[in-house]
């Protein structure tokens, strides 16, 4: 690995820039003045390009960046085909949200310096979680991402937002204590914090301790990754927060935590099959319960929150199977869900700016006022429930084909059931949006609103184009996803890259 580092580090950017640059820009925030949103957008676009550039360089093996002292003694960044793919996805998502806020957010709380700092550091925290190769460093980045998320959800500072922020903070702090406890027990028993070194030593520690550490991590990360039964808090947070913040939670933070959870499972456990089965069951239960509950929701944000939980369950179901085709499909679905959920939450933000609340009745007939937004909502929800030719269809098909190939059929039944339930509630909302309303109700349309410029729709259009494009030509992503799935499952390769020996 040294030959990479010995080249001039300024000419060959290293993965550390993905974390250091957002930190630097956030610390210097008083300097930026009015240029904040363009800067946020530009920085993330730059990071996206950097991640893609680095991704091209890790096709043959991971890039290990030493920080101060070589692993396993020190902290290192572990940039491989799957973590960089997710970094690229998440920085792209943040860039789109930044563009949306730049053009559309007129509310004073989004104009503040603090909002800029929070989004920047949320992204730095997520990048760090994806890239770090050290367990305690992971905890630190979880706290960075967590604290920014608590504050983002309380950003509006009214009672509802503060309630959401407080609940998020309490549940997040509980999860952090459990993760810290697991880290401590790991250090006590293995004497190391490096993930690869833990992977080599973990099988030798007593079985009871393995189970205890595993359970603590499962509770801690399960809370953050919104898995059943640790996810009861999610809908309330999403309802209290602004939809723009919820888009970041659902599209960015949860995805980072899902990766962390599965990376730990695949990297540390010598035989992830048993745990994988349990995670599949957990994912299946999450999906079915969430989709069933989503049917009854009468608030747009709560409905989207439950739908998000359902998709997270589906992704968990696919990744837990630990088989290359299905995992590649799961990662594909992860990408699609991020794109579609960003679209849906941003459309929800547009709709809520025109309606008195997110309640069913208040949104009836909204399509007359916001035809484009309603159309994009239809597109996003069709992709979500998996209708051809949209991307969600391809990824669900991919996952089901993988399961069928392996001869396991119960997940297929669950996925189809989930899609049916999704169709039921999404079509209910769509029908509502397009229901003709008597004139007096339209007259209550708030006037004198500072209208967002029409440029606000272009991030949404980008997302829509991507959803259609990936649906028509999944081959665009196929090589990257297959490689990512192989790398994610290749435990001995990852350990060898750091430790120099095969386990």
């Amino acid at each position: 690995m040294d030959q990479i580092l010995l080249q001039s580090p300024l000419l060959t950017p290293t993965p550390i820039w993905l974390i250091a640059l957002p930190l630097l820009v956030a610390f210097l925030s008083p300097l930026w003045g009015r240029a904040r949103w363009p800067l946020l957008f530009g920085v993330h676009l730059g990071l996206f390009a950097l991640a893609l550039w680095l991704l091209a360089g890790v096709q043959d093996g991971p890039l290990i960046e030493t920080l101060v002292i070589a692993p396993p003694l020190g902290i290192h960044l572990h940039a491989d085909a799957v973590s960089l793919l997710l970094v690229a996805l998440l920085t792209f998502a943040v860039a789109l949200v930044a563009a949306f806020l730049w053009q559309g957010a007129r509310a004073p709380h989004w104009q503040s310096r603090q909002a800029f700092v929070l989004i920047m550091l949320l992204s730095a925290g997520c990048n760090g979680m994806l890239l770090t190769g050290d367990l305690f460093n992971l905890y630190v980045f979880i706290e960075i991402a967590g604290v920014s998320a608590y504050l983002l959800s309380a950003l509006r500072r009214d009672a509802a937002a503060l309630e959401a922020g407080l609940k998020y903070l309490i549940i997040g702090a509980v999860s952090a204590v459990f993760i810290l406890f697991a880290t401590v027990l790991t250090y006590i028993t293995t004497g190391t914090l490096n993930l690869a070194a833990i992977g080599m030593a973990f099988a030798d520690i007593p079985a009871a301790m393995q189970i205890l550490i595993g359970l603590l991590l499962l509770v801690g990360l399960g809370i953050k990754a919104e898995l059943f039964p640790f996810n009861v808090w999610v809908p309330e947070i999403y309802r209290g927060s602004d939809p723009e913040a919820s888009a970041l939670f659902s599209g960015v933070v949860v995805k980072a935590f899902l990766f962390v959870l599965f990376n730990l499972v695949f990297l540390i456990l010598a035989d992830p099959a048993v745990v994988g089965r349990w995670l599949m069951i957990l994912g299946g239960v999450t999906m079915v319960i969430a989709e069933l509950t989503a049917l009854r929701q009468r608030d747009l944000r709560r409905m989207l929150a439950y739908s998000s939980l359902g998709q997270v369950g589906l992704i968990t179901l696919a990744l837990g199977f630990a088989e290359t085709t299905v995992v590649a499909g799961g990662l594909f679905h992860l990408v699609n869900h991020t794109l579609a959920k960003l679209l849906l939450f941003m459309v929800a933000a547009l709709m809520l700016s025109r309606a008195s609340s997110g309640h069913l009745d208040a949104l009836t007939g909204i399509a007359r006022r916001l035809p484009l937004a309603a159309g994009l909502f239809v597109l996003g929800s069709l992709s979500m429930l998996g209708l051809p030719p949209l991307a969600g269809f391809m990824s669900k098909l991919w996952i089901m084909a993988g399961f069928a190939e392996a001869g396991v059929f119960w997940p297929i039944a669950l996925i189809l059931l989930g899609a049916l339930l999704e169709a039921a509630y999404f079509f209910r909302w769509i029908a509502l949006f397009y229901r003709p309303v008597p004139a007096p109700r339209l007259a209550s349309d708030p006037v004198g609103l500072p209208t967002a410029s029409s440029a606000v729709t272009w991030p949404l259009l980008v997302l829509a184009v991507l959803l259609i494009g990936f649906g028509l030509a999944p081959v665009l992503l196929e090589p990257a996803l297959n490689l990512a799935a192989e790398v994610l499952l290749d435990r001995s390769g990852a350990i060898e890259a750091v430790m120099g020996v095969r386990p």
């Binding site: 010995l6 290293t14 002292i69 509310a107 509006r156 028993t189």
Partner: protein, 270 residues
């Protein structure tokens, strides 16, 4: 909104007692069973063996600032976030208070012209810090410079003796806090805090990037740090410099947090 059925506090408290007791026994059993098989060789031993290379006399400081300096960068970031958030929470009155519907995001402009919605909000808190008595005020005035000096000493000697940026920074912030208690007119100007936290935070990252360029790794030690100078005030290369930045940062952030919590009148956002 009607509340759900009355919470059966008593039963649930007993149940939780049983659950916690059971978890306690389980955890203790697992840990005791493992005690014989804890790690004999840890990363710490490897780092101790290499601490001499850094020229720091305090191995904990060498680990915190150099070997695991990346953690410390993350940690001051969390503190920065918390201070930013607390400043935001206390900066100005939110325009509206609790409604069940939870207003949308982009419609905040709507509320501007409306009269304030009456709510069940508590009366504004009395911000009377009762006028401090003379003895307390004079005592604090006496102790204030000593405490500041002690804080600076702890920061600067972080690589030689127990203490360092965090401890010294919190001591300095505590000195400010006592001063604020004794003397209500004493304030840390927000602009100074903003400059200090920006300067120290970006300085930390810049030290990291300089290390990346000159020493090959992020946060690499680019200044001379011979083992022979161990124990001198000027030793250990960038470690004391970074720890001083951490001290400034922690002092500014914790001082700002204290100040925000002490005085609840809104101050200007910038």
């Amino acid at each position: 909104m009607s509340r759900a059925a009355p919470h059966p506090v008593r039963i649930s408290a007993r149940l939780m007692l049983v659950v916690c007791g059971w978890l306690f026994l389980l955890q203790v059993a697992v840990i005791l069973l493992t005690l014989g098989q804890t790690a004999t060789e840890t990363v710490g031993d490897g780092l101790l063996a290499r601490t001499m290379e850094t020229g720091a006399a305090n191995a904990v400081t060498a680990v915190v600032v150099s070997f695991r300096g990346f953690d410390t960068l993350g940690e001051v970031t969390v503190l920065f976030l918390a201070a930013t958030g607390i400043g935001l929470l206390f900066s100005a009155r939110p325009e509206r208070t609790g409604t069940n519907t939870g207003p949308g995001s982009l419609d905040e402009g709507l509320a501007e012209g409306n009269p304030p919605v009456p709510t069940m909000a508590a009366p504004p808190p009395e911000r009377v810090l009762s006028q401090p008595n003379e003895i307390l005020a004079n005592g604090i005035r006496l102790i204030y410079p000593v405490l500041l000096l002690f804080g600076v000493y702890v920061v600067v000697h972080g690589h030689l003796s127990p203490g360092g940026g965090f401890q010294g920074g919190v001591i300095i912030a505590t000195a400010f806090m006592l001063r604020m208690l004794a003397d209500p007119s004493f304030v840390l100007p927000p602009i100074v805090i903003a400059v200090l936290e920006s300067f120290s935070g970006s300085g930390f990252v810049l030290f990291g990037l300089i290390g990346l360029v000159l020493a090959g790794t992020f946060l690499g030690n680019v200044l001379p740090h011979s083992a022979a100078s161990t124990g001198l005030l000027v030793s250990a290369g960038v470690i004391p410099l970074i720890y001083i930045l951490v001290g400034i940062k922690v002092g500014a952030e914790v001082g700002a947090i204290f100040q925000d919590m002490l005085e609840h009148h809104p101050h200007q956002e910038h």
